[in-house]
């Protein structure tokens, strides 16, 4: 079952399957380490609901729902 990162539950872990799109945003997300095969964990949402915070190898990243929805993951 595939989801996008922002559809994960708080504390849920997943593996990145793909980053959709061929634009600078897709490149940026991959540069930051969101590559197929990377492990991520959903940490939580900002108090106003957006952006979200995730953990990936070695650090924490925040990104908006719109950007997070580009990252397709496989929950583990």
């Amino acid at each position: 079952m595939s989801l996008t990162i922002n559809q994960l539950q708080i504390g849920q872990k997943a593996t990145v399957q793909d980053v959709s799109g061929d634009d600078p945003l897709a490149l940026r997300l991959m540069e930051m380490g969101l590559l197929p095969g990377s492990d991520v964990e959903f940490i939580g949402r900002a108090p106003l609901g957006d952006p979200i915070e995730i953990r990936l190898s070695g650090y924490h990243l925040s990104l908006r729902q719109a950007e997070a929805s580009r990252v397709i993951v496989d929950p583990s």
């Binding site: 108090p47 915070e53 990104l63």
Partner: protein, 770 residues
Amino acid sequence: MPPAALRLPHLAVVGNPNTGKSTLFSALTGVHTRTGNFPGVTVEMKLGRLHRANHEVMLIDLPGTYSLSARSDDERVTVDVLLGQQPEIGSLEGAVCIVDGTNLERNLYLFSQVRDLGLPVLLVVNMIDVAEKAGLRLDAGELSKRLGVPVIFCNAHQRESVARVEAAIFEFAASGESSVTPPTVFPPVFEEAVDDLAGLLSQQGKTFPRPFVARLLLDVGGQIEQTETAGWPELVAHLQRLREAVGAAGYRISGIEPRCRYAAIRSALAGLETRPVRTAGQLSERVDAWLTHSFFGLAIFILMMFVIFQLLYRGADPMVWALETSFGWLEDFVGSWLPRGPLRSLLTQGIIAGVGGVLVFLPQIVLLFLLIAILEDCGYLARAAFLMDRLMTRVGLSGKSFVPLMSSFACAIPGIMATRVIENRRDRMVTILVAPLMSCSARLPVYSLLIGAFIPAITFANGWVDLRALVLMAFLSLGALVAVPVAWILKKTLFPGETPPFVMELPAYKWPSPRTVLHRVYDSASSFVVRAGTLILLTSVVVWGLGYFPGDHTRENELFAEVESAQEKFAEPIARREELQETYEKLETLDPRPVAAIEKVEVELAEVHTRLHDYDALVSTLQTEQGRLQEVSFLGMAGHWIEPVVRPLGWDWRIGVGVIASFPAREVIIATLGVIYNLGEGIEGDSAPLREALIRSTRPDGKPVFSIPVALSVMVFFALCAQCAATLVVIRRETGSWKWAAFTFVYMTVLAYVGAFLTFQIASMWWAGS
């Protein structure tokens, strides 16, 4: 001058944000740095000399970045410097790449890009103590062997560690390697495409370094592509073909670089201990859980901003007061040495007042940057952006604009300088352009004078709600309310484009490094004084000249001399009158009113007034003369000239003069009104008599100048106008163009005019009707 051959070795310092790069750079170079500013971009690069014994190298601190993939002119500068194509800096002898030991994998991405440019690279693995504490076991020799570059471990906040890095840099610079060809991370099909593209470019007489050609192919729609393909449609088509060819071989062009580089990095690190070091249960994680909590996170944030704001608003006061007082003394001191005349007036009212007008901003700049540098260095600033992002996206900005805009409530100047944390140029521009709308502390004296004079002291709800306080609150929030549609319109018209992505690292919390914090404060303060100060001073002198010339000041100087000798003669009753007035005011505030005591004071006051009749008459003659001089000055002429323009706002020419004269700084209007409404300068400076004078002043037809609608109209004007030369100079500096300073002035003046016009017209109708 040393011959070119003896030019110092130049090394670029590169690294991701939050790696301690700035800390290391300032630890290495001290305060002896200069800032390189490049045309057309807003980024600054610091150059610092590193020397020990007879060795010397020049370090160039490049802006922190995650990738060399340039999307904007600002990012392009980094690539240009590294490729030796930035004429001011010239070719480099190498690069020092600083990486965060707790997050090697992602940090090595930039390292891999830098190394592919063909420069010798020294890899500095920073925060190694934190990494080792978290369980990372790394062997520098092994890492060096696998990556093929010298590697040194470092803790940028430890002195001996910095000394080791220094030694390594000298050794690295002396090794004399000029260029290296690292093993490629890309598949052959990509390398062939680069060769093909380089061939096409050189046919057109454009020989670029090969790494540059590779970047052109990699960065789809990036800055390099935009510049190079301009007016060359064949290149666009050719790029398209080459990218499709690479894609057909199974490598999507948008993903080829991160996939290939991360694959290479992962295989280089394989077997070395690099497990994720930040895990739940660690201190930073537990702190973060509270600070980004849906309720406590916001509550702590609001509390923190409240404290910062209070410190900025009130904490700077004693320092501002001390500065103002000492400049007052200096004016008096210089004044006492020189005869009255244009020179003395220029020195005291123009230059000393102008220098004071520059330095008076320093306490707030220092305080704000101290607070911001602490928050940034400990990692909270990123959380502030995280918490406020949703709110700021409503006006098309991002969370990173929040702190600069909030700081602008104290003073727009540090606020505008603080926008440097916003990487996106469009967001940064919009933030800079709306920041002066926030109600800064210089507007407060104007509000309190006019509110005190014209808004009745009515209280509601058993004295809990004060009408004056309500009006003050309304004016303090007016600018911010207006900024919402202004930011929205600017985003739709002048700075259109997709919402920039908000992909931001949330660094682990750590204790702020005093050295980094102090450097940041020193940099911002010195850059304000050196770069903006001179222009602000110039403006102040020009406005002084416009207010002083071309009137003949002989009579004024004679009257001044007479007033001074009269002050000596009547010293005792003058002092007594001040005392009595204070007592009177104090008694008036008592409840119940001590009628008998008040009457007694009134009787004595009347008596002193009689004794001072001649003195008062003299002062009043001097004031009339000063008012006359003001009216015949260039400023006065301008005031008369613009009277038809300001009449619809309910103003007379004198308010017009006050507004023009307050161009250097808003609060100048108080002093100017004092002069114009016949109070004179330096006689009685406090605002109670000015308040009275404003209430009493009349137009030629005998009607009072000020009414509630007029006072409201002046306040709305000051809430929205750009009467602050210092802000405009800082906008010019931060945007790199006078165009934006002029734009800010024009749009805010138009807003202020329209606002004042509507306020006056509507308020007049309302008061006429009631």
